[in-house]
């Protein structure tokens, strides 16, 4: 009895041992079999997958922290054909909610697919979260209906469903201010997916900085092999020197004046002469970067995206500021130097006349600037001589890129003695801004030197970069001292006096400003165009402590061709609003406060 009981134990133990041994040997056989490597390879494919992590594109702020460019959540809708059972419902629902084509969607999701491998088809992109919420609600309702039907034993029926539909969240670029400052900000072509990049303005100039570094990581599906995805820092954020409210004001006032003057286009540039910071840069036309694909509609042909940096023009009499600055600095003339204006001067054998073809008699240099006498300024340039004149223009940066940190800047070289196409008369015409072309940013940078006591500052829009939680400030840079402090202050005083003497409409009550009008003929294919001018005005103030330089340009105004009639009032209105937005008290109050 006892031995029989033990035999049973031995039998069970032996059987179990043999079974274990068999399993062990079989496992070794599987591992060593020729197919094992193939299976390991197939398994490896499902173990991990590579994923490219695109960092969030950096934000763009104005100087006070108002967001000019950010990101919003959006969705891509697709379908995994392995699970699609009701193409009709999917196509009808997506068509009604997102507006995509029913037939196309139906064709895409009806594609036969018998494999177990995933087959993803993209159906819609950049769908707003609100529409996804609607889709979720419909899907939930359909699933509930199906569950109820299932309980009523209708398992074999294909109930309406959205099985297989997937929506994946992602970020897209958004511009909360729409067209405001779009010429400065530029746009990001987010629809181009992996090829997306910034175009124009700071979006293009600082594309690499804003984009950050896309990183490829390996994502494990095996829960034992999951590792923390490395922290991918977002792209750097940019703080611009632009003041959103001043930009909005400049655009509003510019648009009103374009409308009232019938001008073809307009530009306003507001610069801090002490730092070179661009406070505002308003142009027409402006694109809403949220709809950047309308680019060719807004800018047909070869129109510049930002005329303030991308279009050169003959500026006319505003250029006399530079001519007079050069002559004063070189000692060729003094403010009291007298000139007898006979109404005509011969330079290089060509007669140069005044804007009104009149003779203004005896004048000093302030009178020449006040009455904007071409004859006088041509004489000043000849007194200075071509070598010094063009050397000063070079030092003022005319003919060179200013290097402003905006994409799309252009420049037109200045013809100098010795160049093909330069004649002696050029010296005379260049003196009053004809036959020489510059962009508004070149003009405002050069004239900014006069406002800033002779120091020319690098114009820039980047105030700071915020990267990895740290702020890197962009300090102001002096790019030259084309004239002395004394020359700059003398000329400022002359131009302030000349505005006051002629009771210019550019004057702003309570604030002493210096400035100069400009009316220029427009070169065409066969000489200058008839009845078409460019009207400009440049001014700065307050004269004792300049805080702003404002440059305005109206292209081909219809109500009057003269800068003093159409551009000067635009300058005045801009400055009247500017002093409010800059918290700049009238001179008397400011000086009283300073004296305490």
């Amino acid at each position: 009895m006892k031995s029989k009981s033990f035999w049973r134990y031995y039998f069970v133990g032996g059987a179990l041992t043999l079974a274990g041994l068999f399993i062990f040997i079989w496992m070794i056989r599987i591992l060593l079999s020729p197919e094992a490597e193939t299976f390991r390879e197939i398994g490896g494919r499902y173990e991990t997958f590579p994923k490219t992590v695109y960092p969030e594109r950096g934000n763009i702020y104005d100087r006070w922290g108002h967001l000019l460019a950010g990101n919003v959540e959006t969705y891509e809708i697709g379908a995994d054909l392995r699970y699609v059972t009701d193409p009709q419902t999917i196509a009808a629902t997506l068509s009604s909610i997102t507006g995509i084509d029913y037939n196309n969607t139906y064709a895409l999701v009806s594609e036969p697919w018998d494999s177990d491998l995933p087959r993803y088809v993209k159906l819609a992109d950049f769908v707003e979260p609100e529409k996804i919420a609607q889709l979720e609600a419909i899907e939930k309702q359909l699933n509930e209906t199906r569950a109820n039907a299932s309980r009523r034993n209708r398992k074999d029926d294909v109930m309406p469903n959205m099985d297989g539909v997937i929506w994946t969240p992602k970020l897209k670029r958004s511009y909360p201010e729409h067209t405001l400052g779009s010429n400065i900000v530029g746009f990001y072509s987010y629809r181009e997916q992996e090829k997306a990049r910034g175009y124009y303005g700071v979006e293009e100039k600082y594309n690499q900085l804003l984009a950050g570094t896309p990183t490829q990581v390996t994502v494990a599906l095996d829960p034992y092999k999951i590792q923390d995805i490395p922290e991918i820092p977002p792209g750097a954020s940019l703080v611009l020197t632009i003041d959103r409210d001043i930009q909005a004001m400049a655009e509003r006032v510019l648009d009103e004046h374009i409308q009232s003057s019938g001008a073809k286009s307009g530009t306003v540039v507001i610069l801090d002469p002490e730092t070179g910071e661009l406070i505002a840069m308003a142009v027409s036309d402006r694109l809403d970067p949220n709809h950047y694909w309308d680019y060719s509609k807004v800018f047909p042909g070869i129109m510049a995206y930002n005329r303030a940096i991308g279009t050169t023009y003959e500026p006319g009499s505003v250029f006399k500021v530079l001519t007079m600055a050069a002559a004063l600095d070189a000692g060729a003339v003094e403010p009291s130097t007298s000139f007898l204006d006979t109404g005509v001067i011969m330079v290089g054998g060509v007669a140069i006349r005044n804007w009104d073809r009149g003779a203004w008699g005896p004048q000093d240099m302030t009178g020449c600037m006040q009455h904007s006498l071409n004859v006088c300024l041509a004489w000043v340039a000849t007194e200075l001589g071509p070598s010094k004149f063009y050397n000063y223009l070079n030092n003022f940066g005319i003919g060179h890129l200013t290097g402003i940190d905006l994409s799309g800047e252009v420049s037109q070289p200045v013809l100098i003695p010795g160049d093909t196409g330069w004649y002696e008369v050029n010296l005379g015409t260049n003196a009053f801004g004809q036959g020489v072309a510059a962009t508004p940013i070149q003009m405002v940078t050069a004239i900014g030197a006069v406002a800033n006591h002779g120091k020319m500052m690098a114009p820039h829009v980047l105030k700071a970069v915020i990267e990895n939680g740290e702020q890197y400030n962009n300090p102001p840079q002096v790019i030259g001292t084309p004239i002395s402090r004394q020359t700059a202050d003398t000329l400022t005083e002359m131009l302030a006096n000349s505005l006051e003497k002629e009771s210019s409409v550019a004057l702003v009550e309570g604030y002493r400003v210096a400035g100069k009008t400009g009316t220029a003929e427009i070169p065409g294919p066969g000489g200058y165009l008839e009845n078409a001018t460019n009207a400009s005005f440049v001014g700065w103030g307050p004269v004792d402590d300049p805080r702003f330089v404002v440059y305005v340009w109206l292209e081909q105004p219809q109500t009057s061709p003269w800068g003093s009639v159409v551009a000067a009032p635009l300058f005045s209105e801009i400055v009247q609003n500017l002093v409010v937005l800059m918290d700049l008290p009238p001179d008397a109050i400011r000086q009283e406060i300073a004296s305490h």
């Binding site: 702020y61 919003v72 095996d222």
Partner: protein
């Protein structure tokens, strides 16, 4: 052989005692095996659970980052220049002109300050959160200990 010795021998040779010894031995092996299996299973389950938790948290982190970005932009849309101007007009405000403004001296007021200010870059060293003893191997720990002892001995020398 005394009676006491006989009882003692009988007790030692009792078959139930041998069976008990074998049974206890098997029981110990079984308990040990079960314990090892239990520990392995627990650790494995915890590792898998932690892995899935990491995956969930990463997804949640991405979701929150998108949500924050969206909200920031939504705020900007609702406070854009045009939106604020329209709201101000609805409330009966109008643009101030320079004649409507009174300027006054406020001691200590330094003017409008920028809203965004991140700290300037520093050359700070990232703080060490994990003690070296958690990351060192045994050999490294021993080597460092010996070096430390040597340094101390050197320091004490005249």
């Amino acid at each position: 052989m005394t009676a006491h010795q006989r009882i003692n021998q009988a007790y030692r040779q009792a078959p139930w005692r041998k069976a008990t010894q074998i049974g206890v031995l098997f029981l110990i092996i079984a308990v040990l095996g079960a314990s090892i299996l239990w520990i392995m299973l627990t650790v494995t389950v915890q590792a898998a659970s932690a892995g899935l938790q990491i995956q969930d948290l990463e997804a949640r982190q991405e979701e929150l980052q998108r949500s924050i970005a969206s909200m920031r932009t939504d705020i900007a849309i609702n406070t854009s220049a045009s939106a604020m101007e329209a709201r101000a007009k609805e409330l009966g405000f109008h643009r101030a002109t320079k004649d409507e403004i009174d300027y006054m001296v406020i001691p200590g007021y330094t003017g409008r300050q920028p809203q965004i200010s991140a700290p300037p870059p520093t050359a700070s060293v990232s703080p060490v959160l994990i003690k070296p003893s958690y990351t060192q191997s045994l050999s490294e720990w021993l080597l460092q200990g010996i070096l430390k002892m040597n340094e101390q001995a050197g320091g004490l020398a005249p």
